[in-house]
């Protein structure tokens, strides 16, 4: 054993991996023995490139891969994220596997996976490095691959994959164009679409519940990936990496599948569960009130519980209010007020006070709101209401 290590142990360094400090490197069973692909070599090292095809017509879970032209609805939807007028061929779906789950300069990307549509179907491309010394070639190759596209599609790539990739370029002093891409982060989009329908928005759960796809036995969970790679770097045995390649491949294919699923949903308008409400909220937040109203109204046609129905109505009323459609807004508030909805009463009080200058009605609605708020122990609102009440009484007094 190394002298320094001995000295450090004397000083109290805990060496928990001391039992197998000496690792025997096995030779010969590299990735090429398990995964069909080819080595690409240069002065800057070598990378292993794996290409696979998924032809149009094949199924990924319940979704059929097919060529697709975007329609107005879908364009409106992606526009919310600043992505407009894209052809499917402009998008590259990508996912990276790293040596560490924490972000930081020490997290290495060792496997880059992506897929994209072309004339014949989906092409899946994976690029792998055996260790960090080959990173320059790796990053150059990835850069050249991405260059052909306009838009990145990822799952949590805004917070993870892209910052890590950017960091790798900086560390290797290689110029990059990562800031020039449009970016669809399907995690953020899934969170919004299935806000009311799914508890977990992890890709594996979305896959199961939305795409109804089940992974094969080769699958290994993402959290195991760093450990498997480390073992490979230490021992040279690539066999366990098969599972990592599989995991990465399914991740990117599922991204493409998920994208198609969302496009289908929008263009066919076949929505399930609370998807219409969520879509309404997505457009509402993007200030596309016309579209928002459309989806809210669709949501009201669906069977749903009272809470969701009330929420939808409140949203719809606010969206209409933003458009200045006060009459329609008020009739919804009135409908809601019948069901003792506090927001509705407050809004009606505001409407009658400020728009109609009808202080008597305003006072009535305020008093009703106060009654409701007392049951709900909405303390701050109650103070506001009390304030409104005294102001209205003052106004009424002046008038008389």
């Amino acid at each position: 054993m190394n002298d320094i290590l001995k000295r450090l142990q004397e000083l109290g360094l805990k060496v928990d991996r001391a039992s197998n400090l000496e690792v025997k490197r096995s030779i010969g069973n590299n990735v090429d023995s398990f995964i069909p692909g080819e080595w690409v070599e240069s002065n800057n090292g070598r990378i292993y490139v794996v290409k696979q095809r998924v032809p149009y017509g094949s199924k990924h879970g319940n979704t059929t891969l097919k060529q697709h032209t975007s329609v107005k609805q879908t364009n409106d939807f992606w526009d919310v994220d600043g992505v407009l007028d894209l052809k499917m061929e402009d998008i590259v779906f990508l996912d990276t596997e790293t040596s560490s789950l924490s972000i930081g300069a020490g997290a290495l990307i060792f496997l880059f996976g992506c897929c994209y549509f072309d004339k014949e179907g989906l092409e899946v491309l994976q690029v792998f490095i055996e260790d960090p010394s080959h990173e320059t070639l790796f990053l150059t190759y990835i850069g050249n691959t991405l260059e052909k596209f306009k838009c990145l599609a990822t799952y949590n790539g805004k917070s993870f994959d892209i910052p890590v990739l950017r960091s790798r370029y900086i560390l290797n002093r290689i110029p990059h164009e990562l800031n020039g891409f449009l970016h669809i982060d399907l995690l953020h989009i899934s969170r919004r679409i299935w806000k009311y329908d799914l508890d977990s928005k992890k890709l594996s759960d979305i896959e199961k519940n939305v795409l109804q796809f089940t992974r094969g036995e080769e699958e290994i969970p993402g959290w195991l990936v760093p450990q498997i790679y480390q073992d490979f770097v230490q021992t040279g045995n690539a066999e366990p990496l098969k599972g990592v390649f599989y995991h990465n491949e399914i991740d990117v294919v599922s991204l493409a599948g998920l994208f198609l699923k969302i496009e289908n949903m929008l263009s066919s308008n076949q929505l399930q569960g609370n998807e219409p409400l969520s879509l309404g909220e997505i457009f509402h937040r993007a200030r596309k009130y016309e579209l928002a109203n459309e989806y809210y109204k669709k949501a009201l046609e669906y069977d749903s519980n009272d809470v969701i129905r009330e929420k939808t109505l409140v949203n719809l009323a606010y969206s209409l209010k933003k458009q200045g459609k006060l009459k329609e807004t008020c009739s919804i508030w009135e409908e809601l007020a019948q069901a003792e909805n506090l927001t509705a009463c407050v809004e009606l009080a505001k409407f009658h006070e400020h728009k109609e200058k009808d202080w008597v009605s305003a006072l009535e609605w305020t008093e009703k709101a106060i009654l409701i708020s007392e049951k709900l122990s909405a303390l701050r609102l109650r103070e506001e209401l009390a304030h409104r009440k005294s102001r209205l009484i003052l106004k009424l007094g002046k008038k008389e």
Binding site: G104, D131, P132
Partner: protein, 847 residues
């Protein structure tokens, strides 16, 4: 600035009390620092015009000489170290060049690191004010931001992308910035200035860690091709430049001539009077404080009282309020733990004069701008000269006298300082010490460094040789943190190494102290493993925040000590057996009467039992054995003195001790016979068999240290010896007593020179030591594995510390030793004082 009701006559009246009045008898020494007029020297050349306009307005008389000097040196591209006094306008020395640079170069950035959050906050406020006055001058909006653990996530990205002047602390630099340096690409690419404020606070373990953070930082700066200038500030310490250079690996231009205006200040050192002559007991600190404070109150003088711990602040505050009432003479407490809002209002109250007195920890010492008061009262020496001046510097107003009083505690350190004004008034003998190459610390940071950037074949790190560096890197390869390819070392592990290091500790496992509460339990605190064996062994009384607990169980497997409340009037003291062996002697020097050595040592400690000691009488109530506690091995650096046999012999023969006859109690005769019979009429050392009357019965732990003869005369404490062996045993006890007195003093006084805590060093004595071929040894060592530079410096300074030790003994009024000099009469018996003194005199005999 201060609207204040106290008049200059009031403060003069108090000064008179100390000079010639009622309090003059307590004064051990005093001196006056005369007011000094400022020397101005215009404004720096080449300053941006808007900036110049602003400072002309703010400082119409120009900048101080030293400020101009510092700014000019920075403009000339030099690194600058500023050690001028408190409130001498040090921060303007870096604010100006930084503001100038961010104004004239639209991309340039600057980093400022402060040891505490409060300092960073204060600086942010001042900088923002300066920046704002620039904006009013039609200049630009400067993104000045604090980036620390409290910065909201949402704000961090914008700070990274837009920040121009960044304020942070060492911990955040270590854990939040360096490991993510790629996110700071713009900031680091354009970095022109780095400020490290108050670098004297970066010493010991913290400093050694931080020096490594800096080494990592410099690798990263190198990667981005940035060559910023460094601006460091420090309190006056004797090795400031050397320390700055060791700390940063850069050369510095020293700016030390303080040309700012300084108030006149009178210093008085006060020693509470002795209340028990023979035991050397002095009046308590708080009582003495109350006496002095009564004059402060009656003269309506605004004051700040500095106390050493948060707990003593509260105790002092309570007594002051009880004694003086609180309504009209509003007395406030101030310490960390108070809400920021409370603190701001107290600072404001001091500024406006509404608050008359504040009792504070060192929290009020640095940075915070709160105006000045007439009088500061330091309750106990604050440990370092720089703290002493920071705290005293809170007193002082233009055109009138101010007063700073130091009251000594009973510790040998305070008792030394209180009689040696020159120690603080003339040039600092303090050394800030670090050892960035401590192997454990180094290893942790090399992990972080490799995480941040791979090590390339030709790279070096700090002052490590490439071959040393490679050894460490290869060790990290063996530990599977790194992989090596073509002599490049890459991080490959899964972890985030900086998260595993706390800069303020050497990492290790700690034991949590939990109070049982029926089925539940409450966490009282944590102690490190070594301390747990000493302080939290079964049966120990553990004192935390003034509350006492009894340790029921120490479970080292689960890392927990179980406590229950303790109400009995005793505390415990562990008894340990320590063995030291030398692993490697690095330096050695032979003096006339001793030799001193420095090197790698290993300290093996076994806790073998403990004593219960009465709170009131400090007498031993009982002695208990402990079994089964693991031994603890500390490999560290130490310095040891070897005392030649002839010195010991001459001391033994000189009969330098008094020994009164003890009255062993009415049953002594019977006990004696029992013990001799038990030991089979044999001397238990040499084995000789003698008639009963010729044999002696010896107390292993001296009789006089026990409260009750029954415990002292318990057979377990008694042993049969022949007269010759008894004499040797007694002599050995006396040698040990003398040695331990010297060790006690050295360990208590060395922190004055080493700027460390007393608990950072350990001491050890042995009258027949294997370290020195059976001769007596006194050893002092770093309490950190691998050492942290303390004993290395003590090796150089040993003679000075021995001289200080002798001074303390000479000036202590007690008879036979007390906690203020050679330590309480311990298990080695009485007479320590005279014997320790004899040893010190012979050691210090001129060559």
């Amino acid at each position: 600035m201060n609207s204040n009701s106290s008049k200059s006559v009031d403060i003069d009246r108090i000064i008179e009390l100390f000079k010639n009045g009622e309090l003059s008898q307590l004064v051990t020494c005093s001196w006056i620092k005369n007011a000094q007029e400022a020397s101005y020297n215009g404004y720096p050349a080449n300053l941006d015009s808007s900036l110049l306009k602003m400072i002309e307005k703010l400082y119409p008389r120009g900048l101080f000489n030293h400020q101009n000097e510092a700014v000019q040196a920075l403009f000339d591209g030099k690194n600058v170290l500023i050690t001028t006094g408190t409130s001498s306008g040090k921060s303007l020395c870096y604010q100006l060049p930084i503001l100038n640079s961010v104004i004239t170069d639209p991309s340039s950035t600057a980093l400022m690191v402060f040891p505490t959050k409060a300092l960073a906050e204060d600086q942010q406020k001042k900088l923002t004010e300066l920046g704002n006055s620039l904006i009013n001058n039609g200049s630009l909006n400067l993104p000045i931001a604090t980036y620390d653990g409290d910065t909201p996530q949402g704000k961090r990205i914008s700070i990274r992308n837009k920040g121009r002047i960044l304020l942070t602390n060492p911990d955040m630099l270590h854990i939040g910035i360096l490991p993510h340096h790629t996110h700071w690409e713009r900031f680091l690419n354009n970095l022109k200035f780095i400020v490290f404020d108050e670098i004297h606070s970066y010493r010991g373990v913290f400093g050694s860690h931080f020096a490594n953070v800096l080494r990592r930082f410099k690798r990263i700066l190198n990667f981005y091709n940035s060559r910023p200038n460094y601006i460091l500030t420090s309190a006056t310490i004797s090795n400031a430049t050397e320390f700055a250079e060791k700390f940063t690996g850069e050369r510095f231009e020293l700016i030390k001539n303080d040309t700012s205006y300084q108030e006149s200040r009178q210093y008085f050192f006060v020693n509470p009077p002795v209340v028990d002559e023979s035991l050397g007991l002095r009046r308590g600190l708080v009582d003495q404080t109350l006496e002095i404070f009564s004059f402060v109150i009656s003269n309506q003088v605004q004051s700040i009282l500095f106390s050493r711990t948060r707990k003593t602040v509260e105790i002092t505050l309570k007594r002051l309020r009880e004694t003086f009432g609180r309504s009209e003479n509003d007395i406030h407490g101030y310490r960390s733990g108070y809400l920021p809002r409370e603190r701001r209002s107290i600072e404001e109250g001091l500024r406006s004069g509404k608050i008359r007195s504040v009792v504070s920890t060192s929290a009020l010492e640095m940075g915070i701008d709160m105006g000045k008061v007439d009088l500061t009262l330091l309750i106990g020496y604050p440990g370092t000269i720089s703290s002493f001046y920071q705290q005293s510097g809170r007193a002082g107003r233009r055109n009138r006298n101010s007063l700073s009083i130091l009251i000594a505690s009973a510790s040998p350190m305070d008792q030394y300082v209180i009689r040696h004004c020159a120690f603080v008034s003339q040039g600092s003998p303090e050394h800030a010490l670090i050892d960035p190459n401590n192997p454990l610390i180094l290893m942790e940071h090399l992990k972080c460094a490799a995480f941040e950037l791979p090590f390339t074949p030709k790279e070096t790190y700090g002052d490590l040789t490439r071959s040393d560096l490679s050894d460490y890197l290869n060790a990290l390869v063996l530990l599977k943190h790194l992989v090596e390819r073509n002599q490049n070392y890459y991080w490959i592990a899964e972890d985030y190494p900086s998260a595993e290091i706390s800069l303020r500790n050497i990492s290790g496992n700690s034991i949590s102290l939990r109070l049982r509460n029926g089925m539940e339990s409450t966490l009282i605190g944590d102690v490190d493993f070594q301390s747990a064996l000493r302080m939290a062994h079964p049966g120990a009384v553990y004192i935390h925040d003034g509350n006492q607990y009894l340790v029921d169980e120490l479970n080292l497997e689960d890392h927990v000590a179980w406590l229950s409340p303790h109400t009995e009037p005793y505390f415990t003291d562990h008894r340990s057996e320590t063995k030291i062996s030398v692993e490697q002697t690095i330096y050695e020097e032979n003096k006339t009467n001793f030799s001193k050595s420095f090197g790698d040592i290993s300290v093996n400690e076994r806790i073998k039992g403990f004593k219960r000691i009465d709170w009131n009488t400090l007498m031993t109530l009982g002695v208990f054995e402990l079994e089964g506690l693991p031994e603890n091995d500390l490999h560290t650096k130490g310095v040891w003195l070897t005392i030649p046999e002839n010195v010991v012999e001459s001391l033994k023969n000189e009969n330098k001790w008094q020994n009164e006859k003890n009255e062993y109690g009415s049953q002594w005769k019977d006990i004696r016979v029992l013990v001799v019979r038990r030991d089979n009429y044999r001397c238990m050392v040499c084995g000789i068999q003698l008639p009963e009357a010729q044999l002696h019965v010896h107390h292993k732990i001296p009789f006089r240290t026990f409260a009750d003869p029954g415990t002292a005369n318990h057979p377990t404490n008694l042993v049969t010896l022949c007269p010759a062996c008894h004499r040797r045993a007694e002599q050995n006890v006396r040698v040990r007593t003398g040695l331990s007195g010297v060790a006690y003093l050295v360990a208590n006084l060395a922190p004055l020179t080493l700027m460390c805590d007393q608990r950072d060093i350990g001491s050890f004595i042995e009258s027949e030591s294997d370290m020195a071929n059976g001769r007596p040894v006194i050893a002092v060592y770093d309490q950190f594995p691998g050492g942290i530079g303390l004993s290395a410096k003590l090796y150089e300074k040993m003679e000075e510390v021995l001289q200080q030790s002798l001074d303390v003994i000479d000036q202590c009024g007690c008879d036979e030793g007390c906690p203020s000099c050679v330590g309480p009469a311990g298990e080695n018996g009485m007479g320590g004082k005279v014997f320790s003194k004899a040893i010190l005199i012979s050691l210090l005999e001129p060559q």
